[in-house]
């Protein structure tokens, strides 16, 4: 098994730490930190502005990062990759810039009960503002999109279908290409995919996926916080109005009107986050060097082992489909032990897991729980982390007593 732990300064500094919250944010390898520092030390100037060589260098670095990321996510046209603060901003961009202009009373928006609030609330609010109908597709009992339910919700009134590539709460990998085909057969809706949990683990292949927009974050794929992207089909991006106004996104500013810059600049108002763009490009290099197939194989091996061993513990309930249909996530509860108590006890042994609703309150209601405990594995985890997780759960069980579990 590959051991990547030594690539990550925070993990090297904390040898006792079992970091199992990569679905919230991944740790950052040294190469990414170096790339960010290198930008500031060797190329720092405001991109697209200066006529001097250093600004040109900064622009080159920023453009290179865009091309690198476009290649990473399988988008043939780098100008259709808009840098954003992350997935949340990317989804809000689509819901605002495309949604306000194209959705009206009587139209329908379909999301799934598996969505993160970031791909649920913007659409719900768009529906409330425009008078459109907001529909939530139900799930199968093992936490997958119910395709029969999904088909039944599509019609020629459907304007938007929004779903995630991989569920952050359960790890479910959704059949996005198949779903996009179903949408095309039954409606003229756009398909918006939340790829925050997809890009770190799966080869996305945007041009072949069949969706119209795909959003992702840098910080879950070994990159820095505060940068991510939106990939969109050019014909849609061209017709959309800008999302934010400011410098760089304009062409000519007259006293009474303004014309817009070309893609991707039209959607990137203000000074770009060029240093973190360099960081996210380095993260793409890092993951490609390992190979995304290997990343998924590695984390799935660990999550399968965790799944098998946690299932053997009396009182443990695991949510979601079998490990072979999940990313590196395992979501579970232990009897009547509240997930926050479980997380505190695990923290006592240096095991970092997430406890809560994972920004998926609609999903928690359907699972009939207020919260779950979630462990998520990534490239730097190993069997020792699985051992620590299982031991911690057993310890929690002991502290809380066997009787009520």
């Amino acid at each position: 098994m590959i051991t990547r732990r030594n690539d990550f300064p925070l993990l090297v500094r904390n040898p006792e730490l079992h970091y199992l919250d990569s679905a919230a944010t991944s740790q950052k390898p040294r190469v990414v930190l170096d790339a960010i520092r290198d930008f500031y030390e060797t190329a720092n100037a405001n991109p697209h502005r200066g006529a001097y060589a250093l600004s040109v260098e900064a622009t080159d670095r920023y453009d290179h990062a865009r091309r690198r990321l476009a290649r990473f996510v399988g988008a043939g046209d780098p100008d259709c990759l808009i840098f954003t603060r992350g997935t949340t901003e990317a989804l809000n961009l689509v819901a605002t810039a495309w949604g306000r202009r194209n959705v009206s009373r009587g139209d329908e928006i379909v999301v799934t009960a598996l969505e993160h609030h970031a791909n649920f609330v913007p659409w719900q609010q768009l529906a409330l503002e425009t008078g459109a109908v907001f529909r939530v597709c139900e799930l199968t009992s093992d936490g997958r999109i119910d395709l029969d339910c999904f088909r039944s919700m599509l019609s020629n009134r459907t304007r938007v279908v929004a779903l995630n590539h991989v569920s952050n709460a359960l790890g479910t990998i959704n059949p996005v290409a198949e779903i996009a085909r179903i949408v095309r057969e039954r409606s003229n809706a756009i398909v918006v995919c939340d790829g925050a949990q997809g890009v770190p683990h799966l080869r996305v292949g945007f041009d072949d996926l069949g969706v119209d927009f795909y959003a992702f974050s840098g910080h879950k794929m070994c990159g820095p916080m505060g940068i991510g992207g939106l990939i969109g089909r050019r014909e849609l991006l061209e017709t959309m109005p800008p999302y934010q106004m400011g410098g760089d996104m304009v062409e000519f500013v007259h006293d009474d009107r303004t014309t817009w810059n070309a893609l991707p600049h039209k959607f990137e108002a203000g000074t770009p986050n060029a240093a973190d763009a360099a960081g996210i490009a380095a993260a793409a290099d890092y993951l490609d060097e390992i190979g995304l197939d290997e990343v998924l194989r590695h984390e799935r091996g660990l999550v399968s082992e965790a799944d098998r061993r946690l299932r053997e513990i009396d009182g443990v309930t695991i949510y979601g489909p079998p490990p072979a249909e999940r990313s590196g996530v395992i979501s579970f509860t232990l009897g009547d032990v509240h997930p926050h108590d479980l997380a505190t006890i695990l923290d006592g042994d240096g095991v970092c897991i997430r406890a809560g609703n994972h920004c998926t309150q609609p999903l928690m209601r359907r699972l009939d729980v207020s919260a779950t405990a979630r462990a998520s594995f990534y490239v730097y985890n190993d069997e020792g982390d699985v051992d620590a997780l299982v031991e911690g759960v057993l310890k929690a069980k002991e502290i809380f007593g066997h009787a009520a579990v």
């Binding site: 009547d336 509240h338 997930p339 926050h340 923290d347 006592g348 042994d349 809560g356 928690m364």
Partner: protein, 150 residues
Amino acid sequence: MQPSERTAQIGALYQEMILDHYRRPRNKGELAGADASVLMKNPLCGDEIAVHLRYDGDEIAELRFSGRGCSISQASASMMTQLLAGKTVGQVDEIRSRFREMVMGDKAAAEDATLGSLRALGGVARFPARVKCALLAWNALETALAKRDE
């Protein structure tokens, strides 16, 4: 921090008394004819606790709670209702600030006998992420008491 130290802190947090109040909460349920009921939620974890109280003059004659949550929030609510029933509003205010000081790490407050069995929650101070769990019921109570002054 040494692992053994952290283990001791976990032990201090999950005392038998706290687990007992979690499993067998006292004064749990609605209160018919309540003068005030306030529901407080923690959206981060989905916990919610409602505090129901009835006054007799300046005194809190009855105090109950309902809702769901982790062992810390439930035990805190349960012990709070036990200690505060029969106390005057003035006494409650004092105990409330003392309890808040204790969970924020005040060592003198942690020794204060007026907090009674609530001192079992002193260990929460070492877990900043859990302080809000311990305070959930108390915040609901504070809001309920503020209504009286309106």
